[in-house]
């Protein structure tokens, strides 16, 4: 039986690890290299690295961090942030990433999603969807939550899968860093309307939030950052908590 995944997310800016609230007010949360070592020792199910700065310098720091992680971390690695071209993708993959996360470019140049899928396979493209709830309904936002679009998250999700995305990374901006729980309704709507696995992010504050998502929605994975950054929680404890609730989690030995 396929297990549900719990995925730590490392947000990076200029080579440092940061964490914000609603994609703003970022604060430094340490050296990503140390975090990688700890998550590796705790046998995290997978790691996601996202560069939020998307400048040339910040991206080359991302590539270096992925390169180092791949020499000591024998788990799936996904990386993204500011990917615009197939050359950006090649660079991250050759540094050791197994898949890339494409969010803004998936809106501005959707052809890139198809191009990556054709060249490296659909499993290599994780299409990101950042959305925010509003009075007129939820909308997709791009450029790290600074620019709104008119896109509906569910319709956008379906289109991304049609373009070739092998997984979706669904992130609720208004829940980000709040630690009040995931946006379960949208997770259910998106995950039940596409044929590919959906990773849900934004809002986990304690293990019960992971349980709600993984037990009560068709989401395949729970991504979290604050949960592990602030407090003494870790992937080992998360797995055993979820397993005790009857959620299928990975067995290591």
């Amino acid at each position: 039986m396929l297990k549900k995944r719990v995925i730590p997310v490392l947000l990076l800016r200029d080579g440092r690890m940061v964490k914000g609230v609603e994609f703003k007010n970022y604060r430094d949360t340490g050296n990503p290299r140390t975090a990688v070592r700890i998550y590796s020792a705790q046998d995290a199910d997978e790691l996601v690295f996202l560069d939020i700065q998307a400048t040339l310098e910040s991206r080359s720091a991302l590539v270096e961090i992925v390169r180092e992680a791949s020499t000591e971390c024998f788990m799936p690695l996904a990386a993204g942030g500011g990917i615009r071209t197939i050359e950006d993708v090649r660079q991250l993959l050759s540094a050791g990433a197994d898949k890339v996360v494409v969010t803004t470019a998936a809106v501005t140049t959707p052809r890139l999603v198809t191009e990556i899928a054709e060249k490296y396979g659909a499993q290599c493209v994780v299409a990101g969807i950042d959305f925010r709830a509003s009075a007129e309904g939820a909308k997709v936002w791009i450029r790290c939550g600074t620019e709104p679009t008119e896109l509906d998250p569910v319709a956008h999700a379906k289109r991304l899968v049609a373009l070739g995305a092998g997984e979706l990374f669904l992130n609720a901006i208004h829940r980000d860093g709040r630690m009040q729980g995931y946006e379960l309704e949208m997770a259910t709507r998106v995950a039940s309307s596409v044929s590919v696995p959906v990773i849900v992010s934004g809002g986990a504050g304690h293990f019960m939030h992971l349980a709600e998502l993984l037990r009560d929605t068709p989401a395949s994975a729970a991504a979290c950052a604050s949960l592990f950054h602030f407090g003494d929680n870790n992937p080992i404890r998360a797995r055993s908590f979820l397993r005790n609730l009857g959620i299928p989690m990975r067995v290591l030995k």
């Binding site: 039986m1 396929l2 297990k3 549900k4 995944r5 046998d43 199910d45 997978e46 791949s70 020499t71 000591e72 024998f74 788990m75 799936p76 993959l93 050759s94 540094a95 050791g96 990433a97 197994d98 054709e118 060249k119 490296y120 396979g121 659909a122 499993q123 290599c124 092998g166 997984e167 596409v194 044929s195 590919v196 696995p197 068709p218 395949s220 994975a221 990975r250 067995v251 290591l252 030995k253």
Partner: protein, 205 residues
């Protein structure tokens, strides 16, 4: 020396890093001539069957591999590398594979509500005794990421099944040629055990 077949596709560095982490020397072989010096070979790879086969043909591997494995040199295919060992694939139109293990490669068609690609951690609930699976217990999970799966012509070549809305072949072996649909190099301790088993394998079942 372990030779990792470099045909321009996939995350080759991960496979080499994993072997080096375990203390085994591994080199990327860009051409078949370099593989002659290696006592065992790994065929990694991600991407589509068709593109993979084209790349193996362009770089001379399709022609050279049957000779390279003829003298009982162990060969391990990982993920797409496993699929390419078979006779034919249907991804992006029918194409011929290496034909080192008889059988075909077809798209996963699991029962609802399973989603394709099959991504994540899954176990090998059914397996038979094989040196590559030495010390691996049935409930231990490995990392899978794929949309197609192999159907060996002979059940004798199956060494492990995985369950994903029905059973599919997760590992196959015929003489000194083996394939794993999951990624041992991405499966932490359980995967490292399989890579160690491969290094110790004499190529016999």
């Amino acid at each position: 020396m372990i030779g990792i077949i470099d045909y321009g596709l996939g995350n080759l560095a991960s496979v080499r890093n994993a072997f080096e982490h375990l203390g085994h020397e591994a080199r990327l072989c860009a051409a078949p001539g370099e593989a002659v010096l290696c006592d065992r070979l790994v065929l990694p790879g991600v991407g589509s069957f068709h593109a993979g086969m084209l790349a193996l043909e362009e770089r001379g591997w399709a022609e050279a591999l049957p000779d390279l494995v003829a003298e009982n040199r162990p060969l391990l295919g990982i993920c797409l590398g496993m699929q390419l060992l078979f006779d034919t694939g249907e991804e992006n139109g029918p194409s011929r594979g290496l034909g080192l293990i008889p059988g075909t490669v077809v798209r996963l068609a699991p029962s609802e509500p399973h989603k394709v690609p099959h991504v994540g951690w899954n176990a090998l609930p059914q397996m038979r005794r094989h040196p590559l699976l030495d010390g691996i217990r049935r409930h231990v999970d490995f990392y899978f990421v794929h949309s197609y799966h192999c159907i060996p012509a002979s059940q004798d070549d199956v060494i492990a099944f995985c369950d994903f809305g029905g059973p599919f072949v997760a590992a196959a072996a015929r003489d000194n040629i083996a394939g794993m649909q999951f990624h041992p190099e991405k499966s932490q301790p359980s995967g490292m055990r399989i890579l160690e088993n491969f290094v110790a394998w004499n190529g016999r079942c």
